[in-house]
Every structure is written in C-alpha cells, then in structure tokens.
C-alpha cells in the first residue's frame, strides 16, 4: 500500500512539473554574428584573399577583424520587462569559425522585443584590466589613451593593386589631450524583434563597408595607421559606427 502511495505522489509531482513547464513557455533566443561588405557575406576565407573597394575608391584587403559587443538586452514591448544576455560581452574574431556562444543567449516569453547592445564598452564598463578573457588576448587599450579596451581592430592593406600599404583601423576611447579622454562607444537599439512559439536566433551583422562610408568617406591614403591617438580619426570612427550594424531574426 505504501509503495502505491509513494508511486502516486511521485507521478503527481512529475505531472505537476510538466504543467509548470507548459505554463512558463519561455523560449531560448540565441545571438550570432555575421559580417558583410555591402550585401555580400564576408568570412574568414576572404581574409588576405578578397579585394574590396571602399567608398573612396581605395582597394583593400583585410588581414584581421575583431570587435567587441557588450550589454545585450531584450526588452519586451508589452511588459517592459528586460532580459540581460548571459554574457556581459562578446569579442567577435572573424578569423575564427565561432560566431556565437551559448552564454550569449536569452530565455524569454514569446512577444515583441527591442534588442539593445553597445558597440564597445560603456564608460562605466570600460574598466582598465577588468576582464581576464580580454586581457589574455591583449585586447587592452593603452592607459595613455584612456585605458580600458579596444572596441575594434581592423587591419589590412590598401592600394593592394598598386603598392600595398598597411592600415590599422583601431577604435577605442578618444584622447582629447594629455590626460583628457572622451568616451567613444555607440549604443544600438533595434525594435520589432518578434519571438514566436519556437526558439529563435538573432543575427547581428556588421557591414564592413559602412566603416568607410557613412557619414565620413574614409580616405585610407590620409588615415591609415597610428589612428589610436588621433582624436579626429577616433570620433570619425564613432560616427561611422552608427550605420554598421543591422539585425535579423530567424
């Protein structure tokens, strides 16, 4: 008799758990990254292989591209409830096949959301030496330039069809003058992210061509290297960053 009662209790508990799961019906939402040049996809196979032409007409090849995205949040349009990504930041490296991380995901109820994130780190989060996984890959930004971390490293060669010259398109905190610094991150927000009854994957795409296009037409012959301490170049990058990201949901 006791055994029957125990079995009944266990069965009821299991049944009850199942029902709870149905009620919550939260969905897994992942984040993945992709890159393009205008509308053409760019992958690691394009590194040191594909010749791109920027808005200024400069021919260029990419040797490497890394960038930092932080503080990814989904906000439900109806309830106003915000859901923080499991990871505080993600360093995307185009030379690696890894486009995502399990820790980047959200678990949210179906609905319409706004996705917000920051290109780089906010002033509050851009703490010198704070993140061990960024320190070990030397992603740091020199203390003399305000410290913290790089937001972007895009390296390559331009005038590749004539006489190749290197460019180091690196972005981070802007130095106004010795000891005076200005934040340089860019917040992004994308509305109408629909999360349905199934799991979803949000793709954040970087259009690399936009770095050289909008609003500043970038002339690599004038601005190619030693851009980190160049205040004007740093702020031009921040301006051009505004249009590099787009978002899609599958």
């Amino acid at each position: 008799m006791k055994k029957i009662i125990v079995l009944l209790v266990v069965s009821m508990t299991l049944w009850s758990c199942d029902n709870d799961d149905d009620k919550t019906s939260n969905k897994g939402v992942g984040i993945t990254f992709s890159e393009s040049w205008d509308k053409s996809p760019v992958t690691f196979t394009d590194l040191n292989a594909t010749v791109f032409t920027n808005e200024n007409g400069d021919n260029l090849q990419l040797d490497g591209l890394r960038y930092l995205i932080s503080n990814m949040v989904l906000t439900n349009n109806e309830t106003g409830q915000s859901y923080q990504s499991g990871a505080g930041f993600f360093l995307r490296d185009i030379s690696e096949t890894t486009r995502t991380s399990p820790s980047l995901g959200f678990t949210v109820p179906p609905g319409t959301y706004k996705l917000s994130f920051i290109y780089g780190f906010s002033e509050e989060d851009n703490i010198d030496g704070e993140y061990e996984n960024l320190n070990i890959v030397s992603w740091n930004w020199p203390e003399m330039l305000g410290g913290g971390y790089h937001f972007l490293q895009m390296d390559g060669s331009y005038n590749v069809n004539i006489e190749p010259s290197p460019f180091n398109f690196h972005n981070g905190t802007a130095r106004v003058s010795d000891g005076v610094f200005e934040q340089n991150f860019v917040p992004f927000s994308f509305d109408d992210i629909e999360i349905g009854e199934n799991s979803a994957m949000i793709t954040i795409n970087m259009d690399i061509a936009e770095w050289f296009k909008n609003p500043h037409t970038w002339n690599l012959n004038e601005l190619d290297t030693q851009l980190m301490p160049n205040y004007t170049a740093q702020k031009m990058m921040q301006d051009n960053a505004q249009s590099v990201f787009s978002v899609s949901v599958e």
């Binding site: 590194l47 040191n48 292989a49 040797d63 490497g64 010198d128 030496g129 061990e132 996984n133 320190n135 070990i136 890959v137 030397s138 740091n140 020199p142 203390e143 003399m144 390296d155 390559g156 060669s157 010259s165 290197p166 460019f167 180091n168 690196h170 190619d224 290297t225 030693q226 980190m228 301490p229």
Partner: protein, 353 residues
C-alpha cells in the same frame, strides 16, 4: 557455520586489499599563481584528461632531465631547454644527436598553461603540449629515437615502472603517459615575479628610464610593441598568435604556412613572450640576433617587405619605427625589467636526477 564465517572473512579481506590497491590516487596539485596572474588572467588551462598531480609532475621533471629519451642516452629535453636560459638554449641551433642541427632556435618554456591559442612551437605545429612532446623524441636531428624503444627502456628501468604506476595507475609505460608527465611538469613552469611584476604589486619603483621604455612600448606612434607582445594587463607579454614581423623578403622557412599550407601564412611565426629576455638570447625563430640591441634595431630600421608582412608592421615604408638611440636604450631597460631571476633559479625546476 564457523567455516562459512571464516570463508566470508577471508573474502572480505581480499576485497578490502584489492580495493585499497585500486583506490590509490595521485595527489592533485594546483599551480601556485603569481598575484598579477590571479587578478588579470583566467585560470591556467589544464586538460581534463591530464590533471596536475604531485606524482605526475615529479615524474615529468625526472623525464625532462633524463637522456633516456634519446637514442644513445646522451640528450635530455633540458639540454635544449635549460633552466638557466629560461628553458631555452643559448646556442642559435641546438645540438641534436651526432651533432645534427635544426633550423630554429629552441623556444623558451614558461607560462604555457595560458597558451589559449592551443598552438605550440614557432610554427604552431602542435595543438597540445602533450602532442608537442611527441615530436622531438623521434626527430632525427633531435633525439633520433623510436617510441617503441623508449617505452621498452623505461619499462626495463629500476625506478620508472613504479613512478608511472603511482602517477597514472598503469602497469605498462607507454608514450602517452610519458608525454602527459612531461606536459604536467612544463605546465608548472610559471614566471610571474619580475621587477615589473613587483612594480605592479607596488613593491618597487621602476627607474625613469624603464618607465620611459614602457611608454615607448605602449605608444602606437613610437614602438607600438603592445599589439603583439602584451601589456601591463596581459602579464604573459605575448598574444600567443602568429605574425610575419618583417625579417625577410623571401622565406627559407615557411613557419605557420608550412603547417597549414596557406600561402597567406607563409613566414608567420609565434610571438614569443618578452619575459626573461636576459636569459633567452639569441632571438627570433632562427636565433639570428645575438643581442637585444639587434632586435630593437630590426624593428627600428631593419624591416623587410614581403607579401605576408603583418599590417602591424606599419612603418615598413620607412624601414621601421625609427627610434632614437635614447629611445632604444630606454626600451631595452624596460624589457629587462621583465627579468624573473627567481624563475631560472627556482629549485622546483632544476635537475632532480
């Protein structure tokens, strides 16, 4: 009834005895981390299949210094990776058996438990430390032995069978266990107590010349060394990546590209750590520079263009970053502040045999 009880008691004793044997476990060890590593770096990467143990490390150390791994029992790992040279070799090309020589300078061994790129050697030819250890034993210009012969010698030895049994609970020594033991020892080779580390811990002051050198190192308009060689927040002083740093117009040695077959990686070699440069001369993958002055001159005026040169060698059109003589001296003074005297004299890293 007494007989039955007696049999049961005997069986119980047998069972306890065999359990005791099976239950022998080597003692786990955790790497003692320098303060700066604790605060700035993720934990060291220790493979699940080869955890650090007291017995494994002791065995690995014994093997590292033992010429038994070479064909004629004359050459040990430590002969080309000497503790007093920060586990490198003062010779440009190390002597193999029968005075054979290679084409590369012996790489220093330190802080390899933080090599998250998982590519070892100048050309990235090994993807784990354990795998790296396999190659020199059979390489004709190094130890020129066979693993079968090494295993036989070790199994016939008076001491090794017991040491392997204690470390790995095996009755028959094999090459996998040898590589695991040596890898464990190498993972304990941690250098994190240079004057610069002490400066970061606010225990000492750097000289004005060393501070000037640090500024040159970190300034994109001067040395711009930090993109490949770490910074005060990356105490490994390497990015553990591969670069063509403008040594040659054409390549005799393809480096990483020779392993991957990718022409865009021809002439790329691993960035070495800048720790302990006082002990690791000569420099570069082929040991072409005997002094630090020559190394600094190379980056200042000696860059050579080739198709795969790293874009970070941005001053290629000028031949280099054009440092003044004073800047060169300051940079050298800073680099030498990364010297960790305690590392090369650490008793735990010396020959136990």
């Amino acid at each position: 009834m007494k007989l039955i009880l007696g049999i049961l008691f005997f069986l119980c004793l047998c069972s306890c005895s065999s359990e005791r044997e099976e239950q022998y476990k080597p003692i786990p060890v955790t790497i003692e981390l320098p303060t700066t590593f604790q605060s700035l770096l993720p934990p060291p990467v220790i493979p699940q299949e080869n955890p650090l143990t007291q017995e494994g490390i002791t065995l690995g150390r014994k093997l590292f210094f033992d010429p038994i791994l070479s064909r004629d029992n004359t050459l040990a790992c430590a002969d080309c990776h000497s503790p007093q040279n920060a586990f490198s070799d003062s010779k440009r090309f190390s002597d193999g058996l029968d005075e054979e020589k290679g084409i590369r300078n012996s790489m220093p061994l330190m802080n390899l438990a933080w090599n998250i790129s998982n590519r070892f050697n100048w050309d990235g030819s090994a993807v784990t430390l354990e795998e790296q250890i396999f190659e020199p034993v059979t390489n004709p210009i190094e130890m020129d032995h066979t693993w079968e012969a090494v295993e036989n010698e070790l199994n016939a030895d008076d001491e090794y069978p017991q040491l392997f049994e204690q470390a790995f609970a095996i009755n028959r020594i094999d090459s996998t266990a040898v590589s695991k033991a040596i890898a464990q020892f190498i993972r304990t080779l941690v250098s994190g107590d240079s004057r610069f580390d002490q400066y970061l811990r606010e225990e000492v002051e750097l000289t004005p010349q060393e501070l000037s050198g640090l500024e040159i190192f970190m300034n994109e308009e001067k040395g711009d060394c930090f993109h490949c060689h770490g910074n005060p927040n990356n105490p490994l002083w390497t990015d553990n990546q591969f670069h063509n740093n403008g040594l040659d117009e054409a390549f005799d040695d393809l480096g990483l590209g020779g392993i991957t077959g990718d022409p865009s990686q021809f002439g790329l070699f691993k960035s070495p750590s800048l720790r302990n440069l006082a002990y690791t001369a000569p420099y570069m993958h082929d040991g072409r520079f005997e002094t630090l002055e020559e190394v600094i001159d190379h980056y200042s005026e000696g860059l050579q263009f080739s198709e795969t040169i790293d874009p970070l060698m941005k001053s290629i059109a000028q031949g280099g970053v054009q440092l003044t003589p004073q800047q060169k001296e300051d940079l050298k003074a800073f680099l030498l502040s990364l010297t960790d005297e305690g590392f090369v004299s650490n008793p735990s890293y010396q020959n136990p045999n």
